[in-house]
Amino acid sequence: MGDKKDVWQGTLALMVLKTLQALGPLHGYGIARRIEQTSGDLLAVNYGTLYPALLKLEQEGYISSEWGTSDNNRKAKYYKLTRAGRKQLDKEAREWNQTTEILARFLAPGKESA
C-alpha cells in the first residue's frame, strides 16, 4: 500500500512542478485542473491527495506559497516554483526520461531476437 502511494505521489510531485514551471504561480484547484487537462483527461487527480502533496513540496522548499486574488476575485493560495524547485524539476525530469527510455527499449517488440 505504502509503495504505490509513494510512486503516485512522486509522479504527482513532478507533474505539479512542471505545471508551475509552465504556467507560473497557480492555486491548488488550477494545478489540479491543468494536470487533468494535460493528461487528456486520462488521469483523474484525486483533489484530496493534491493538498498533502503541495504541503510536502512546500516543506521541502521546492515551492513557496502566498495568498493572492484569483481571476474572479477570490482569495486563493498561490504556489510558485523556487530555485531549488527548478533544479529539482530538471533533475527529476531527466531521471524520468531516462527511466521511460530504458523501459521503452525493453518493451519494444522484437528487438531482443534481432
Partner: protein, 889 residues
C-alpha cells in the same frame, strides 16, 4: 538536508496549529468555490455543481485530515494525542484502572523478583578481571555420585598439566576447603580458609584493598607463613584495623603475618573464604597416595585467542593421557573446563528450581494479562459506539487500533511502575530470606539495569498480549451495524463475550495446571519435612570441632582429647548423654567404597559404596538410633583389639539379601594401612536419613572412633531440657581441655536441619504465594466476566422475571453460564496437568510424591473458587427489580 528541513518545519507546525488549520480550511473552501463556478460555467444546476465538486474533492474532512497528517508530525502528534486521551480514559474509570494496574503490578513484580534472583545467580559476573577469560578446571568422577560432578584434582596432575597445556597463560591451584583455627584476642574461632598457590590472585586479576596479595615464591617452605584476610573477617574480628598489615595472627597455633586485606566485593560464590594462606606443594611427590589426594581446584587464565571449548578439548586429552599412564588411580577420571561464572552456576545447582519458579510466575503474569484483556474487551463493548462514531468522522481504522494499543501501553507503564515498587520490596524480602547458607548469602539481588530492562520488557510484552486482542477486535467491527443498532451494547457484547469467555476459560485452565504443579511440589516438601529421619531430633545440642594437625598430629592424641571431652560433656548439668561422630545424622552424604570378604576383589573405583560414619560408642544411644540385632561398639575396643563395624538395616538388606551379616568380614577403603584390615560386622542398627527431605535410604556403615580416630568431629549432647541452655557448658568443656580449640556451630540439631531445609521451605512458600495469586486472579477474571454478562442481560432478566421466572431460575441461569466456562477450563486444565508429575520427576533429583489425589483435589478447589466467583453476581442478578430493568437503557 531537504528531509531535515521538512522535519523541522513539521516539528514547528506542532505549535502553530490554529492558524494553519484556518488557512487549510480557507484553501479548501476556495478550491470548492472555484470548482463550483467551473461547473456552473459548464451548465450544471447550482445544486449539481456543488455536489459534483464535493464528490471530486473526496470529503472535506478527510482531506483536511490528510493535510493535517502531512503538516505536523502525525506519529508524534497522534502519540501525544492518544496518550492524553488514554490518560483521560484511565482517569475517568478509576476502578478499572486500579484493578488493572494492581493485577498487572502483581504479575510483573512476581516475575521481576524471581528474575532478580535468577539474574544474581546466572548473570552476575564474578568480580575478577576479564571474567570471560578466567576458567576453572574440574575433575569428573567416574562414579557420578551425590550433587554436582565437579571435583578437585591431585597435585601431580596440576604440576603435569601446568607444564603441558597450551591453552592457558597461567594456572593456579587452590584447596578451597582448608579451614583453620584462629586464636588470639577473643574466643578461638574456626575460619574457612583457602590454601592457594602464589599466583592465584594474579590469575584472577584481583588485588588487595590493603597491603598486597601473594608474591612469587611465597608458596615455598619457609616463606609461607603469610595470610590474607577477607574484608568480612577483617571488619568483624579485627574491627577494620587499618594498620593490620604486618601484624601477626595465630592460625592452628602457628604465627602468620597478615600481608593484605581483600576488598568487600571479592566474593566468589562456592569459593568463598575468610582467609587465604599459601599452598605449599611438593612436586616430587608422585606416588599413588599423592594421586589419590584430590583436593585442588585449578584456576586459569586463557591465552588470548584460545576459547573455552578448545581448552576443554585439550584437558580432556590430558586427562585421557593420565588415565593411560596411571590406570590404578586415574582410570575413569575426566576433566572439564568451564568459565568461572559457569562453574559457579553449575555448583549452585538450582536449575530446576529456577525453571519451576520462572514458569510459575510466567503463568501468573499470563493469567493477569488474560484478566486485563478481558477487562479491556468489556470496555471496548461499551466503547463500540464511540469508536464507530470516530471512524465515521474520518479516523482511520489503523489509527483506532493504535489508539487502543497506546492505552494498553499506558496501562502497562502504570502496572510496570507499580510492579517495580513491589519488586523493590519483593527483592528485599527474598534477600532477607536468603540467609541460610554462605552461597545464597553472597547473592546480590539489587535491582540493576538487567532487572529494570527485564521489567520494562515484560511490561511491554504484557501490553502487547492484553492490548492487541481488543484492539484488533475493534478495528474490524462494522460501523454501520453498530451505529444503526440502538442497543449496540447487547449485540456487540455477545460477540465480544465469546472471546472473553475463551480468555477466562483459559485462565481457569492455567490455574489448574499451576495449582497442580505447585501442589505436587509442596506435598513433596511437606511429606519430606514430616518424614522421620531415623533418630530423635528433639533436645539434641550439636557443635563442630576440627582438631588442628599441629596440636593433634596422630590418632592417640585425637582419641585422648575426645575421651576427656566426652567425660566432661556427660557431666554438664542437664546433659543426658554425649557422643561424637564424623557426620551428624541427616548431616549430609559421606561415601566410602568397601569390599565384603565373600565378594570378588574389584578395584576400588568399582566397589560398592555406603555412607560412612565414625562414631563414639554412645552415639546410637545419644541419637536414639535403635539397635536391631547384635551389639554396638564398646569403650573397650581399641587400636589393639580386633576391628569391628556396625551396619544399617538397608546395608544388611542390600548386601546380605539372604545371609546373616553378623560375623561377616568387611574391608572399608579408608586409605592408609587401616584400610587394608578386615572388620567384623557386630551389629545392625536402624537407618538414618543422609539429609532431611531425602526420599530414599542409603546403606550405612559405622566404625568406632577408638579404632579409626579423626580430627574433625561433630559433638552431640542429649539434653534433659532445652539444648540451647547447655551451649555455654559445651564450650567451657572444650576450652577447659584446650583453650585454643575453636567450637563452631553450637546449635540444636533442629536448627541445623532448619538451615538445611530452608531453601526447600523458601521455594515451597514462594510457590504457595504464587499459586494463591494465580487462583485469586483467575477468580477475579471469572467474577468480572459473569458480573459483566449479567449486567448486560439486566433487561432480559427483567423480562424473564416479569414473565414469571423465579429467583432460583435466574440464579441457575447466571450461575450456569459462569460454571459452564469454569468447568470447561477445569477440564482442559486437568488434561494439561496430567503429565505434570512426570515432568517434575524428570526435572528434580530425588523427587517422589504420593500424589494421585492432588490433581482432582486441586481441580475441586478451583471449582469451589469458581462457584463463589459466579455466585456473587448471580445473587445480585436475582435482586434485579423488573420495573427498573425494563426501563434500563
Amino acid at each position: 538536508m531537504r528531509l531535515l528541513r521538512a522535519l523541522f518545519l513539521r516539528l514547528a507546525a506542532l505549535f502553530r496549529k490554529d492558524r494553519q488549520e484556518r488557512e487549510a480550511a480557507a484553501e479548501l473552501e476556495t478550491h470548492l468555490q472555484l470548482h463550483i463556478e467551473d461547473n456552473l460555467h459548464a451548465g450544471m444546476s447550482a445544486q449539481e455543481a456543488r455536489r459534483q465538486a464535493l464528490i471530486k474533492l473526496g470529503g472535506i474532512e478527510q482531506t483536511k485530515e490528510l493535510v493535517r497528517e502531512r503538516r505536523g508530525l502525525p506519529m508524534l502528534e497522534i502519540l501525544l494525542q492518544d496518550l492524553r486521551y488514554g490518560a483521560r480514559m484511565l482517569a475517568k474509570n478509576p476502578g478499572f484502572t486500579l484493578v488493572a494496574t494492581l493485577t498487572l503490578a502483581l504479575g510483573i513484580a512476581a516475575n521481576a523478583t524471581i528474575f532478580s534472583f535468577v539474574s544474581a545467580v546466572m548473570l552476575k559476573r564474578p568480580p575478577v578481571r576479564e571474567p570471560d577469560q578466567v576458567a576453572v578446571v574440574s575433575a569428573i568422577s567416574p562414579v557420578s555420585s551425590w550433587g554436582v560432578n565437579l571435583n578437585p584434582f591431585s597435585a601431580p596432575n596440576y604440576f603435569a598439566w601446568k607444564k603441558e597445556n597450551h591453552a592457558f597463560a597461567d594456572m593456579a591451584a587452590a584447596d578451597p576447603y582448608a579451614g583453620a583455627s584462629l586464636t588470639g584476642d577473643g574466643d578461638p574461632e574456626r575460619v574457612s580458609a583457602m590454601r592457594a598457590t602464589a599466583n592465584y590472585f594474579s590469575v584472577l586479576g584481583v588485588s588487595a584493598q590493603l597491603g598486597r596479595t601473594f608474591a612469587d615464591g611465597e608458596d615455598q617452605d619457609g616463606r609461607d607463613h603469610e595470610v590474607i584476610l577477607s574484608h568480612d573477617l577483617w571488619a568483624r574480628r579485627f574491627a577494620a584495623d587499618s594498620s593490620i598489615v604486618g601484624k601477626t595472627i595465630r592460625l592452628n597455633g602457628t604465627p602468620y603475618q597478615v600481608i593484605g586485606v581483600m576488598p568487600a566485593q571479592f566474593l566468589l560464590r562456592s569459593f568463598s573464604a575468610q582467609i587465604w594462606i599459601p599452598l605449599e606443594l611438593n612436586e616430587s611427590q608422585q606416588n599413588a597416595a599423592a594421586r589419590e589426594n584430590r583436593n585442588l581446584f585449578l584456576f586459569a587464565r586463557l591465552k588470548p585467542g584460545v576459547t573455552i571449548p578448545e581448552a576443554n578439548a585439550e584437558f580432556q586429552r590430558l586427562a585421557h593421557t593420565a588415565e593411560l599412564n596411571f590406570p590404578d588411580t586415574e582410570k575413569g577420571w575426566g576433566a572439564t573446563v568451564l568459565t568461572l561464572q559457569d562453574h559457579m552456576i553449575r555448583e549452585f545447582n538450582s536449575g530446576p528450581a529456577m525453571i519451576v519458579l520462572m514458569s510459575t510466575v510466567g503463568f501468573v503474569l499470563l493469567i493477569a494479562c488474560a484478566n486485563i484483556a478481558g477487562l479491556l474487551l468489556a470496555r471496548a463493548t461499551g466503547r463500540g459506539k464511540e469508536i464507530a462514531v470516530r471512524l465515521a468522522m474520518g479516523a482511520g481504522r489503523l489509527r483506532m487500533v493504535r489508539q487502543l494499543l497506546t492505552e494498553a501501553l499506558l496501562l502497562a507503564a502504570l502496572g510496570g511502575a507499580a510492579g517495580l515498587i513491589l519488586t523493590f520490596w519483593g527483592a528485599r524480602l527474598l534477600k532477607s530470606a536468603l540467609s541460610f547458607n554462605e552461597e545464597v548469602r553472597v547473592l546480590d539481588l539489587s535491582l540493576d539495569l538487567k532487572v529494570l530492562a527485564f521489567t520494562a520488557g515484560i511490561s511491554l510484552l504484557a501490553a502487547v498480549v492484553f492490548g492487541l486482542v481488543p484492539a484488533l477486535k475493534s478495528g474490524t467491527s462494522d460501523i454501520s451495524t453498530i451505529l444503526k443498532n440502538a442497543s449496540a451494547k447487547a449485540s456487540a457484547g455477545r460477540r465480544q463475550n465469546r472471546l472473553r469467555s475463551l480468555l477466562v476459560a483459559g485462565e481457569v485452565a492455567l490455574a489448574v495446571v499451576l495449582l497442580t504443579g505447585t501442589g505436587l511440589l509442596l506435598t513433596a516438601i511437606i511429606e519430606g519435612l514430616s518424614r522421620g529421619l531415623g533418630f530423635d531430633q528433639q533436645r539434641l545440642l550439636t557443635a563442630s570441632l576440627a582438631l588442628p594437625d599441629s596440636h593433634y598430629p596422630d590418632g592417640p592424641k585425637q582419641v585422648g582429647f575426645y575421651r576427656q571431652l566426652l567425660a566432661k560433656l556427660e557431666n554438664i548439668p542437664g546433659a543426658e548423654s554425649a557422643a561424637i561422630s564424623t557426620v551428624l545424622p541427616a548431616g549430609g552424604p559421606e561415601e566410602v567404597s568397601f569390599r565384603l570378604k565373600e565378594q570378588e576383589n574389584l578395584p576400588p573405583g568399582e566397589r560398592s559404596k555406603a555412607r560412612y560414619i565414625v562414631v563414639s560408642p554412645a552415639f546410637f544411644d545419644t541419637a536414639k538410633i535403635p539397635l536391631i540385632r547384635g551389639r554396638v561398639f564398646s569403650e573397650l575396643d581399641g587400636p589393639g583389639t580386633h576391628r569391628t563395624a556396625v551396619v544399617s538395616e538397608v546395608f544388611a538388606r542390600r548386601f546380605f539379601p539372604k545371609g546373616d551379616p553378623l560375623g561377616q568380614q568387611v574391608m572399608i577403603d579408608t586409605g592408609g594401612e587401616s584400610g587394608a584390615q578386615w572388620r567384623e560386622v557386630i551389629g545392625i542398627v536402624g537407618n538414618v536419613k543422609s539429609w532431611p527431605l531425602q526420599t530414599s535410604d542409603d546403606a550405612e556403615i559405622y566404625e568406632n572412633y577408638l579404632q579409626q580416630p579423626a580430627g574433625e568431629m561433630a559433638v552431640l549432647v542429649r539434653a534433659k531440657g532445652s539444648p540451647e541452655s547447655m551451649a555455654p557448658g559445651l564450650r567451657q568443656a572444650v576450652w577447659s581441655i584446650d583453650k585454643d580449640q575453636p567450637v563452631a556451630r553450637v546449635m540444636s540439631i533442629e536448627e541445623r536441619i532448619g538451615e538445611q531445609t530452608a531453601g526447600d521451605r523458601l521455594f515451597g512458600s514462594m510457590l504457595g504465594i504464587f499459586a494463591a495469586l494465580a487462583v485469586t486472579l483467575s477468580a477475579v477474571g471469572l467474577y468480572g466476566l459473569v458480573a459483566f454478562t449479567a449486567g448486560l442481560r439486566t433487561q432480559e432478566i427483567g423480562i424473564r422475571m416479569t414473565l414469571g421466572a423465579d429467583k432460583n431460575r435466574i440464579m441457575r441461569l447466571v450461575l450456569g453460564d459462569g460454571m459452564k466456562l469454569a468447568l470447561t477450563g477445569i477440564a482442559v486444565g486437568m488434561i494439561a496437568a496430567l503429565p505434570m508429575r512426570r515432568i517434575l520427576e524428570g526435572m528434580i533429583h530425588d523427587f517422589r510424591v504420593n500424589g494421585s489425589w492432588i490433581l482432582p483435589s486441586m481441580a475441586a478447589v478451583i471449582g469451589l473458587v469458581a462457584l463463589l466467583a459466579c455466585y456473587i453476581p448471580a445473587r445480585r442478578a436475582t435482586r434485579v427489580d423488573p420495573m427498573v430493568a425494563l426501563r434500563y437503557e
